[in-house]
Structures are given as C-alpha cells and as structure tokens.
Amino acid sequence: MIEIRDVHKSFGSLEVLKGVNLSVEKGEVVSVIGGSGSGKSTLLTCINGLEPINSGTILVDGVEVHAKTTDLNKLRRKIGIVFQQFNAFPHLTVLENVTLAPRKVLGMTKAEAEEIAVKQLTHVGLADKLSVYPGRLSGGQQQRMAIARALAMSPAYVLFDEVTSALDPQLVGEVLDTLKLLANEGMTMICVTHEMSFARDVSDRVAFFHQGVLAEIAPPDEFFTAPQHPQTREFLSNIR
C-alpha cells in the first residue's frame, strides 16, 4: 500500500505540491489527470525517492520513503517507474536493457535474468526484438520495452509518468493495451495520463490534480459523469 500524507514539495520558491494526500491499495489502478505543470509527475518521482520532499510523509508498505535510514536502492526494487521519454539505455540491446537490473541489483545469473526478461518482453510483444538496439525501435516499442524492464524486477507497484505523451498518435494504442493488460492482471498502478478513455475504462479511481493538490478523487463513473469540484468540471469540459 502506498500512503501519501500531506506532502509538500518546492523547487526553489515554486511550490508544486501543496499538501497532497492519497492512498493506493494493493491491486488498485489510480489514474492521475490534470493540467500541465500541476505537479502530477513530481508526485511520482517523490514516491520512489528520486525527489526529496519538504514536508509530509510517503509510506510504501509501511516504509517511510524519505526517512534517512531507508535504503532507497532496496525500496526501489518494488516500485517500477516508466517515464515519458529517454527510458532506454541506448548502448544496450533490448534484452540487455531488461536484464541489467535483475543481474546487478538482484544478483541473478545471466541465464536466470534472461529467462525472466524473455518472459516479460514476450508479454509486451517484443519477443522478436531481443538483440535489437533501442535506436531501431519505434517510440511505442521503446515504451513497451521500458515497461518490460520495470516488470522484470517483479515490482509490487508500477508508476507511469505520461508514458504515451511523447508518442505519435498511431503508437499510443499499443502502449495503452499493454497498460490495460497489466491492470487486468491485478498490478498496482499509478498512471499520470492525458488519455481520458484509459482513465475511464481501466482505473479503479481517477484523481484530479489542480494547483498542487488533489482536488477530487472518485471512481471513474462518478468522476466523469458527476464531478464535484468546479475545477474538475472545467477541466473535463475543456478536453471534450
């Protein structure tokens, strides 16, 4: 379970998170939507400790992420994250991209790591690209590789940071299909996204981020048909 309690975060004098509260249960899929620069992506990088926070607490399975005694390298094994772009390690083949962390972090042998990598790459539909370098992949394939790479660590949670935003429209579908597949398998996911249909069809709850706080969080039916917060209504009417 991920528990975010009253988290504040500033970059210099700019406060991007102004007291965020959110709990995500095991097996739950939460979509976070909201305008650009509202702090959605920052929240994700705070959850796995890539960014420090100014106050508040983030607990992952009861472990406080920003406590000085927390071994972040260990904690990050169970939190996968996929970014909008530049995910691939360009000097490694697809297979090497996926086996690197299992081998170096989990201490697996090459054979063990490759077995898992092939399984995950098959899962995301890249079984025929094992020895290809990422530069030869399309954007959608690169994102699916990044998802397989995160999954190869057998994480308990996967965070998706606008993974389709940098893609050509015709490539968005294949990545969303992969996310749907994961969601249906019961993976716990927090997805920062601009894809409203994805948020509506796949998530258990949808959260609306506005000016550094979660203005509204509700199951998708409620969220899209009867939004409570005036800013949510305005946001939804603008994108329709």
Binding site: H91, A101, R136, M153
Partner: protein, 217 residues
C-alpha cells in the same frame, strides 16, 4: 635525380626520436586521462562552488603555455632537490596539461547523458556507482571519444616541446639532422610523414569505433 645524404642510420635516429614522442605521449595521455576521469566525475557531481579550487588549478594548466609550464616545472623540481629526470618531469607536466582538457571532455560527456535515463537507472534500484558504471560511462564514452581522440593527437604534437628539457624526441631529432645535413625540406617532410604515420592509426581507430556505435543507433 633526387639525391640525399640521409642514411639508414639517420633514419633510425628519427625512428628512435619517434619512439620518445610515443613514450611521452603514452604516459601523458594515460595519466592525463585517468586524472581527467577522476576530476571530470567530481566536476559533474559536485556544485560549482565546491569544485572551485579544482576549476582554478585546471584553468591554470589550460591557460599557461605548455612551454612555460615545462621550463618552470623543471626549475622548481631542481630547486626542491627532487632530481627528477627530464623524462619524468615532461610526462608529469604533459599529463596534468592533458588532464585539464580531459576533465572538461568527461564533464561534458557525463552532462550529456539525459537526466531521465539516469533516473530510469536509479529507479530500477541501481546504486549511484552501478548507474555510473553500466549506464553513464558507456553512454558518455560515445560522446567523449571524438574529442578525446582530438586531444590525444594534439598532445602527441605538443609533446615536441619537451625538447626544451633536453629530450630528443622526433622533432628534435629532425632538427639535429637538419643542422648536420642542411636538407631542411626533405627532412621535415620525412619527420612530418612519421608524425602522420603515428597519428593516422589513432584517428582511424576512433573512426571505426564511432562507426560501429552508430550502427546500433
């Protein structure tokens, strides 16, 4: 027809000089690259203020003409009673000079690795050291190689200045022969050709590596 007083033993004298040039260049580039890696990693990872003393010292090595550095270093080591042979003094000065340039190459190459890629590595649980070893260095190497090849070739030619400390390297060997044989044109062509023969394989090696890496992108 063409006629020259240059004998085979004169040619061997030039080859010996070239050997000295290669030796000085080898130690200078090896030492300078190792130091440059260390300083470059420091520069890329600490704030400008913390690195200020390092930046200042390296700027001195980059700004003061190499000739002055060599002569002064040789004088200082004599005053300090270190009794260093000119070869050692030359290699140390050239290595520091090389490291000053190499530091900037390394820092620039590390900075060129996208932050998001490094975050992706760290978020997989890789430690800082693992991120550096398996992700940053291999990616930075591709960025740094052309500049590093250029630096190496430059140092090979700059190493001629060690003749001021009495070392007989390729250019000095050429000068000696010019004085004796009075055939400056021909001898300088031969010396230039030897410099080219030493540089060409290094430049080609760099080109080959770049080509192989590019095929993967």
């Amino acid at each position: 027809m063409f006629d020259t007083a240059l004998t085979l033993s004169d040619l061997m004298f030039l080859v010996k000089g070239a050997g000295m040039t290669l030796a000085v260049t080898f130690f200078a580039v090896t030492g300078g690259t190792l130091l440059g890696l260390l300083f470059g990693v420091i520069r890329a990872n600490v704030s400008v203020w913390a690195a200020l003393p390092l930046i200042f010292v390296l700027d001195v090595f980059r700004s003061v003409p190499l000739l002055i550095q060599l002569v002064l270093a040789n004088a200082f080591q004599a005053i300090a009673g270190l009794n260093m042979p000119p070869f050692a003094t030359s290699c140390i000065v050239l290595a520091l000079y090389t490291s000053a340039y190499c530091t900037e190459i390394v820092r620039g190459a590390i900075d060129a690795v996208p932050t998001v890629t490094r975050r992706a590595a760290r978020s997989l649980g890789l430690s800082w050291g693992q991120d550096m070893t398996y992700v940053v260095f291999p990616m930075a190497l591709r960025v740094a190689l052309p500049s590093w090849i250029g630096l190496t070739l430059g140092v090979m030619k700059d190493s001629a200045l060690v003749l001021w400390l009495g070392l007989i390297e390729l250019l000095r060997a050429g000068q000696i022969l010019v004085t004796r044989l009075q055939e400056p044109m021909f001898i300088l062509i031969v010396v230039g050709a030897i410099y080219f023969l030493m540089s060409f394989p290094i430049a080609r090696l760099g080109g080959q590596l770049e080509k192989r890496w590019r095929e993967n992108d």
